[in-house]
């Protein structure tokens, strides 16, 4: 009775628990997700999300996380995601309810105030933006706290401590500082924000340490900043030169010239945005590598050689897919004689458009995101991450940190990115 009836061959090599004292000095996590599995899972999720009119997406998200987490292994042991769809759903409902009774009347009230007292209206709008920005950062914190509390490895939970209030105000302050200084302070504030989070991130009983030096981020950031500003000035210069060339003869610009300008300006602007985004993507990867270097956990230190080209390439590929899908949809709409006016005035046209977005665009974008961005980057992220040192697993105990009951509602509402 105490033996398996069929001692067949192992279906896969058993994980090798590493003995702490003898573990090698440097090791990388492995990612063993398969594109085909990610695709099938994402497709199935998109289908279920569609037929449940979107409600399933909390469970879909949970399944995807479970897949990605469980396909990352370190020291022979896979990570685990213990979150539940129900928790995400409840978190979302609560935030929706609170938003309904606070923001909606506020917005309606603002509408009215606009007619009687313009300065008060602008003050009200400013306050709304500040509150939303504060909520955005709080949402980042809540989402991270939920994800860490639902992440477990070798039976030990991770945790994020700290306060969403503190972090909300820290994030708000940093954002305002960045705005006031036209972005010059971005490296410093990003270190402050990351330090707050990392020095309160726990695995078991121990907290991570983070020692950031802004100096090593300023070089890359000034390149990004300089190129972006130079690009902006170049764009303005080209537009000004064109305008002068057109009106140089002293006559008012005629209709064809105005139209030409109207087609050139969006292209220039889009080009500048694209340049800035690619440069910013590169900076974010550099920042990630530095942040990794500056992070410690007990006796472990980390290093990352994540290639920026890979990350940017995957994001551009994803954007290409989205643009192509959107382009096809808009092409069909134009060919069928739809216009903005139909969309606005005709209930049938809007119904068709909403249906097309729900049936084609949202599923396609979701599948492409998981397959290209998440799956495509996860492998590179793990391969290029090096962990030095070893841990005494016998002494690493479960922490008593309480787990949050519900997840991420605010992040869901405010569209905070992430998996």
């Amino acid at each position: 009775m105490n033996t398996p009836p069929d001692a067949g061959p192992p279906v896969s090599p058993p994980p090798q628990p590493t003995q702490p004292a003898e573990s090698p000095a440097t090791e990388s996590p492995t990612y063993e997700g398969k594109a085909r599995e990610v695709f099938v899972l994402a497709l199935r999720n998109a289908g279920l999300t569609l037929i449940t009119l979107g409600i399933y997406r909390f469970w879909a998200k949970t399944r995807m996380r479970q897949y990605f987490w469980s396909h990352v292994a370190f020291h022979g042991e896979r990570i685990e995601y213990t979150g539940r769809g129900k928790e995400l759903f409840l978190g979302f409902l609560i935030v929706l309810g609170i938003g309904l009774v606070t923001l909606l009347p506020y917005q309606l009230g603002l509408n009215y105030v606009a007619r009687i007292n313009l300065p008060l209206y602008f003050a009200g709008v400013l306050l709304l933006y500040l509150v939303l920005m504060f909520l955005y950062w709080s949402a980042v914190f809540f989402a991270r706290r939920y994800r860490f509390s639902r992440t477990q490895w070798r039976g030990i939970r991770a945790a994020q401590t700290g306060s969403a209030w503190e972090f909300g105000f820290l994030g708000l302050g940093c954002t305002l500082l960045n705005v006031i200084t036209a972005g010059i302070t971005v490296p410093v504030t990003s270190i402050w924000v990351n330090r707050y989070l990392m020095t309160r991130t726990m695995f078991g009983p121990h907290t991570f340490a983070f020692e950031g030096r802004g100096g090593r981020l300023y070089g890359p950031w000034m390149i990004v900043w300089g190129v972006s500003v130079a690009g902006f000035l170049a764009m303005v210069g080209i537009i000004a030169a064109l305008a002068v060339a057109m009106t140089g003869s002293g006559t008012a610009p005629d209709a064809p010239n105005v139209q030409r300008m109207q087609t050139i300006i969006p292209f220039l602007y889009a080009g500048w945005i694209a340049l800035t985004l690619v440069m910013y993507g590169w900076y974010r990867v550099v920042q990630f590598r530095r942040f990794t270097e500056w992070t410690r956990y007990e006796t472990l230190s980390f290093a990352s050689a994540l290639p920026a080209r890979r990350v940017i390439g995957m994001i551009l590929l994803y954007m290409l897919v989205v643009v192509v899908v959107l382009g096809i949809l808009i092409g069909i709409a134009v060919a069928a004689g739809f216009s903005m006016i139909h969309l606005a005035m005709d209930p049938r046209a809007t119904t068709i458009a909403v249906a097309a977005v729900m049936v084609v665009y949202l599923p396609a974008a979701s599948i492409a995101r998981y397959l290209i961005v998440v799956h495509g980057v996860a492998g590179a992220l793990c391969r290029t991450l090096e962990v030095r040192g070893s841990l005494d697993y016998d002494a690493l105990e479960q922490s008593a940190e309480a787990m949050p009951k519900r997840g991420e509602g605010l992040a869901e509402m405010l569209d905070v990115g992430g998996i």
Binding site: A7, P15, R154, G155, I341, D346, P347, L362
Partner: protein
């Protein structure tokens, strides 16, 4: 298939007890009611088969990770034989993640679904009418202004607000005549948009927008007066305020369904529910007709115009051959086509479904015989966009 041989020493599982990060190599003993996790002759834990659950969906031949209820301890089995032996005793592990159905759980779900359905019902069916009754006039007017701004913005590329002085004066005289004996909290603010679409609509708080196309296609002033009276009916009955609140409720639900409130999907949902809310239900149209006819009657204007207009619009479904050339502002050929009769069907029909029954009811209730405007005023109104 040797059933009773000892497992080879290497056929072991891995166990983390959830107290420390230590992962041990363990042996498994299949007792009658529980799985025994053993190391060196000592039993570390006993997991009753019914409490064992999969940690995650398994893909391919990935090792099976197990937990006991919601405890943090984890058991990992990679060996096919061990997995099969365990699944035989704990069949819930055979497939995907499966949640057990309990009466309490089902009740909770039923309550949840019921509560959600109730919220949806209240938001869409009950709340709008109540909110439309209690909203202060000033708020309502502000909302209407926002709607009108939104619509004029959408049409801004191809149209402007027509403000030709004598035409505006003629329109004011007409609306003054219609509302002279009407007791209402609303002050009517009527604008004409320079656009070829045959349509007119009411926004909250007394705002009414008439498209130039409607004036162009009208056979006489009584048709315009009829449509205007009908739209005034929508205002007086607060239909547009109600449908705007309904659209807000709808948006909230759409945001819940589609997801991130800033995503493109919900932007479209907003467009769909916000502006399409300018079409009302059949009962609301009937109410607006009734108010409209009573306004016409009190002003002594014949209601035949409104009835005739519906009939003509319905007939216009066939084809519109009298395509008027647009006043050239460098608009493209495509936009010209859109501005002319091509959009007739998409316009008034879709927001005001005409029917012979409706036309007959209007005719029957109508007592007025007079003309809505003098010939001079009518000519001025027709030229309001010139």
């Amino acid at each position: 298939m040797s059933a009773a041989s000892d497992p080879a020493p290497e056929i072991k599982a891995h166990f983390a007890d959830g107290r420390t990060a230590k992962v041990r190599e363990v042996e498994l003993e299949f007792a009658s009611d529980a799985l025994e996790i053993r190391q060196a002759e000592t039993t570390l834990e006993r997991w009753p088969y019914r409490e064992i659950a999969l940690v995650e969906e398994r893909f391919g031949d990935a090792p099976m990770r197990l937990k006991r209820s919601e405890a943090a301890g984890r058991l990992t089995i990679a060996h096919g034989g061990l997995i099969r032996a365990l699944v035989e005793r704990a069949p819930q592990l055979s497939g995907k993640l499966r949640h057990t159905l309990s009466l309490g759980g089902l009740t909770k779900w039923a309550l949840g679904v019921g509560a959600a359905a109730l919220i949806v019902y209240l938001l869409i069916a009950e709340m709008p009418a109540i909110a439309a009754r209690v909203v202060p006039l000033k708020w309502e007017e502000a909302l209407g202004e926002a709607v009108v701004k939104q619509v004029t913005f959408i049409f801004a590329r191809t149209s402007n607000v027509c403000a030709q002085a004598s035409g505006t004066a003629a329109l004011e005289r007409l609306s003054g005549r219609l509302t002279a004996k009407l007791k209402t909290r609303y002050r009517f603010k009527i604008i004409v948009l320079d656009h070829g679409m045959v349509n007119a609509f009411a926004a909250p708080g007394g705002h009414i927008v008439i498209m130039r196309g409607l004036i162009d296609k009208a056979a006489g002033p009584n048709e315009v007066a009829g449509v205007l009276a009908h739209e005034m009916g929508h205002v007086v009955e607060r239909h547009s305020t109600e449908s705007l609140f309904r659209a807000i409720g709808f948006n909230l639900i759409a945001a819940t369904l589609i997801g991130n409130t800033t995503s493109m999907g919900s932007a479209l949902a907003e467009l769909g529910t916000g502006l399409a809310s300018l079409s009302y239900g059949r009962a609301a149209e009937r109410q607006a007709d009734a108010v409209g006819v009573s306004l016409l009657n009190r002003a002594g204007i014949s209601g035949e115009g409104l009835a005739a207009f519906f009939a003509r619009i319905a007939a216009g479904r066939d084809k519109d051959k009298s395509k008027k050339p647009e006043k050239g502002k460098g608009v493209s050929a495509k936009k010209k086509a859109e501005n002319s009769g091509g959009s007739t069907i998409w316009g008034y029909l879709s927001t005001h479904p005409p029917s012979t029954e409706r036309a007959q009811r209007i005719k029957a209730a109508s007592t007025g015989r007079g003309q809505a405007m003098s010939a001079g005023d009518w000519a001025a109104l027709k030229a309001i966009c010139k």
